[in-house]
């Protein structure tokens, strides 16, 4: 056996020991479409996903101490989670995925739509796929929704995650793609508000440098360690809204879709407002 395989097996054993057995049993019961080698068509693998689950557990339980509200509102079957996006690094995605794993009766794997740019990064390119993420193209999203999966979309995209600290809790422009897909596949939309992530890395985006290195953003923090590698351990509060099922023609004019998107956006903004009001301190 190769050294790499042996190390991987040891890692999987160690991960199994760390995860509570009740959770492992629930994870095992998850229905997935795997082939004889244990991979689904998008490259998701249950063993690799356990590692991700453990990482998510650390951030969910220990680091950000996620408190989720009304997660029972998320319906079973196909669903789109639409959330605000912030914090320079996508820890809000990990936290939402963690909530869906640990705060739900029956854990669910969230399929996050990730930047196409990630495909060009070594290791990230395949690790994210093993953990259930997919490249953010409409075709991929449609396929997964038709298979009844839960999709996480940040319609603000990189506009949201790399916005400067001064714009915290101000939603940026929403893309319309998710609404077209939701209408087309008749998928219920659950608005999600993440409170706490916006303060985890107070940074500013230096656009010329980002352009120079070909990355979507180049965030710099005014305080050490200057690069937002490690976020501050803020407390996360995640609010799940009532599912909304929109009705309409997916090929409508942008203005018509914008109206519908605004409903979702307002819902998220409302929940953020409530969350900020309830919150006494950023860190606990």
């Amino acid at each position: 056996m190769r050294v790499g395989d042996w190390l991987k097996q040891q890692l999987f054993h160690w991960v199994d020991d760390q995860l509570p057995s009740s959770f492992r049993a629930k994870l095992k019961a998850l229905p997935t479409r795997q082939n004889e080698y244990g991979y689904d068509p998008f490259g998701f693998n249950r063993d690799d996903a356990k590692v991700a689950a453990l990482i998510a557990r650390f951030f969910h339980h220990t680091y950000f101490r996620v408190q989720s509200h009304d997660i029972a509102r998320v319906p079973s079957g196909r669903v789109m989670l639409i959330s605000n996006h912030s914090g320079q690094l996508p820890f809000d995605g990990i936290a939402i995925a963690g909530s869906m794993l640990y705060d739900c009766e029956q854990p669910r794997i969230v399929r996050a739509m990730i930047e196409r740019y990630v495909q060009t990064l070594p290791f990230m390119s395949y690790l994210f796929a093993r953990w259930g993420s997919i490249t953010g193209t409409p075709e991929n999203c449609r396929r997964l929704l038709e298979d009844g999966e839960a999709i996480l979309v940040f319609p603000e995209g990189s506009r949201g995650i790399s916005k400067p600290f001064t714009l915290r809790y101000q939603l940026q422009e929403f893309g319309l793609g998710f609404m077209r897909l939701a209408l087309e596949t008749k998928t219920p939309i659950v608005p999600v508000a993440v409170v706490g992530a916006e303060e985890q890395a107070p940074a500013f985006n230096i656009k010329p440098v980002a352009k120079l290195v070909g990355a979507p953003a180049f965030p710099v923090m005014p305080v050490p360690p200057f690069f937002p590698i490690f976020p501050f351990p803020t407390k996360y509060r995640i609010y799940f809204g009532e599912p909304i099922l929109f009705d309409g023609d997916p090929d409508d004019e942008d203005e018509v879709l914008e109206e519908k998107v605004k409903v979702v956006k307002n819902e998220i903004q409302n929940m953020i407002r409530i969350g900020l009001k309830e919150r006494k301190n950023i860190f606990w």
């Binding site: 082939n35 991979y39 070594p122 075709e139």
Partner: protein
């Protein structure tokens, strides 16, 4: 020629591994006479297969169709020797195909089948996981050597529109594994397999017998159009290499590019640098159309397909 009058099926590139497999399967059929066109010799040719050793562009190749009794053309005689010059390549593949299609139109051949490849879509970071038949053919952007395959594919699809009396079929199979001497099979037969550090794309493979099966299905009357042809499923590249028990050498992408560039220039490898993209990004296709309209199903399991390169 002696014997009863039978419909003739012309196979270009019959001397290649896949050509031989198709010929072997077809020549047993009672009402079919197989005619091969290939510059290469056809070793071990059964007596009931005619072989015309000519260039695709020559007049003699055209003469094969003159009698008007050709029931079908299976065009798989494309050259893909990465070492030969671009001009040779282009002239052989594009001009050869043009001539063949002209002959088919002139002599009323009722069925034309082109064996293209799923590589015409090209591996790209922003590819959706499964490309449908109407996806743009972007393979040539990073890999010039595949441009004439794309051109041939497009020529054939315009032939499809122009000559509606002819049933034109374009098959785009994924990486074919088996005794064939194509890049994916050769890659998997290396003693030490170089991989790109940190990249492990999902790939689709198909057994050579399943490709033959798809070609034979495409011969059925009424079948026309473009079909992606997929094998039994999709796996990460690393799983294939583990299944084959191959030692791998992970190389960072930047280094691999310059290393393979040097090896290529020194004629020490038969893999051109742009092929690296295939072990970096996904290029997978949606084969549901072939399943519903062609009635094609892969017979071999993933394991059998992967192991087929070692036989």
């Amino acid at each position: 020629m002696a014997g009863p009058v039978r419909d003739r099926i012309v196979i270009t590139g019959i001397a290649g591994r896949l050509g031989r497999l198709v010929a072997r399967r077809l020549h047993r059929l009672p009402d079919v006479r197989v005619v091969g066109i290939d510059r290469r010799e056809l070793a071990g040719r059964p007596r009931d297969i005619d072989h015309v050793r000519v260039d695709l562009r020559s007049k003699k190749a055209r003469d094969v169709f003159r009698a008007g009794d050709v029931k079908a053309l299976i065009h798989m005689g494309l050259m893909h020797d990465p070492r030969s010059s671009t001009e040779d390549h282009h002239s052989w593949n594009v001009q050869g195909t043009t001539r063949l299609l002209e002959a088919c139109a002139q002599y009323g051949v009722p069925k034309v089948i082109l064996l293209s490849s799923a590589n015409v879509y090209g591996p790209r970071p922003d590819n959706p996981q499964f490309l449908a038949e109407d996806a743009p053919l972007m393979g040539g952007q990073s890999f010039p050597a595949i441009r004439d395959l794309i051109e041939v594919d497009m020529l054939t699809s315009s032939f499809f529109w122009k000559h509606s009396q002819c049933e034109t079929v374009i098959l785009r199979p994924v990486h074919i594994l088996g005794g064939v001497k194509n890049a994916p099979s050769n890659y998997l037969r290396l003693r030490f397999v170089p991989t790109l550090l940190g990249f492990d794309p999902m790939v689709q493979v198909i057994h050579e017998d399943d490709v033959v099966e798809a070609i034979c299905r495409a011969l059925d009357p009424g079948v026309r159009g473009i079909f992606n042809v997929v094998g039994p499923g999709e796996v990460p590249l690393s799983t294939i290499l583990r299944e084959l028990g191959k030692p791998t050498i992970p190389v960072p992408h930047g280094l691999a590019k310059s290393l393979f560039g040097a090896l290529w220039r020194g004629k020490l490898t038969s893999f051109p640098v742009p092929e690296l993209e295939h072990i970096r990004y996904v290029c997978m296709v949606d084969g549901s159309r072939a399943i519903s309209e062609l009635g094609y199903r892969p017979r071999h399991t993933l394991k059998e397909t992967i192991q087929a390169v070692q036989r």
